[in-house]
Amino acid sequence: MTGIWLVVAVLCAGTVAIKAVGPLALGGRRPSERALGVIALVAPALLAGLIVYETFIGDGGGVRVDARVVGLAAALAAAAARLPMLAVLLAAAAATALVRAVA
């Protein structure tokens, strides 16, 4: 449980610090163009990594293919149809639940 609170405390402090850096640096120098080029790509790289991780992670690690794949496909279809965020999230959950109920 100590570990949990350590995670919460450091994540809280770290997030506040990260969000403060840009506004505090205002008036100072911008990061170099090369640095900005890398920083800007962290989010897409990480998000894609998390999509793969969350869709395929097994209970004790490793890779497991299950109903979550159908849920992600349903979400992408809903997003392609320009449905609102809530509809996209519900489509993912509903498709996954349906496959699990049938399987």
Binding site: L6, L26, A48, I51, A67, A75, A93
Partner: protein, 222 residues
């Protein structure tokens, strides 16, 4: 005076723009609460939602903890998720006003949807919309987490409801917003490939950390 009233009116405009996000944010906060409670207990997820207030980072840290990862990996995964607030912070900084401490405080309002809503499209940002749009999301995210933590037992098995599929769907929505060019798309494909390659044998948290290395393609000439 004109500037003050402008900010006040765009603040209201921001709150209104943030209202459609209340329901999905509440649902996402509730699913975080439902899934976090067995791993983290009741209080920690609520404190996390109130202060960290970043779905991606919270789910990332929870994923690592739920998979049996150590605290350091959970912290690193969560903070790395939030590194995206660095460039976002530099982008909105010119729109923020007041002494450094006030600007740093306003910077805490940075969340993905508000950043997108406050973006005027010409590289500048509206401070009122940024702050206003964040308010309803903070309320929805935190109350959603409380509802999930407290009422999780009533909701039943999160897996049977398919709630675990909400994470990748949420990330996919954020990613679709992020991919604005060929380099971002390449970084995404490479990041996903790195995770897929490392997952079968790497310890919890490591594959997602390693995915960030894909951002180094930003060093190449466009």
């Amino acid at each position: 005076m004109t500037q003050v009233s402008t900010t006040t009116s765009t603040l209201r405009q921001g709150v209104r723009a943030g209202l459609p996000l209340v329901a999905p944010t509440f649902a996402l906060g509730a699913s975080f609460g439902v899934l976090a409670e067995p791993v983290m207990g009741a209080a920690a997820p609520i404190v996390m939602s109130l202060v960290v207030f970043a779905g991606g980072a919270q789910f990332a840290a929870l994923s690592v903890l739920a998979a049996g990862g150590v605290a350091g990996s959970a912290i690193a995964a969560g903070l790395l998720m939030n590194t995206r607030f660095l460039p976002m912070g530099f982008a909105v900084a010119p729109a923020l006003s007041g002494p450094p401490i006030a600007r740093a405080a306003q910077g805490q309002a940075l969340v993905d949807a508000s950043f997108a809503l406050a973006n005027r499209g010409d590289g500048s940002f509206d401070r009122g919309v940024l702050l206003g749009a964040t308010l309803p999301q903070l309320v929805a995210w935190t109350t959603g987490t409380v509802a999930g933590v407290v009422g999780g037992g009533l909701l039943g098995d999160p897996q049977a409801l398919g709630l675990d599929a909400i994470f990748p769907a949420f990330y996919a929505l954020l990613l679709l917003e992020e991919i604005r060019g060929r380099r971002a798309a390449a970084a995404a494909v490479l990041g996903g490939a790195i995770v897929l390659a490392l997952m079968p044998f790497a310890p919890a948290g490591v594959p997602v950390l390693a995915a960030t290395a894909a951002a180094l393609i930003g060093l190449t000439r466009p």
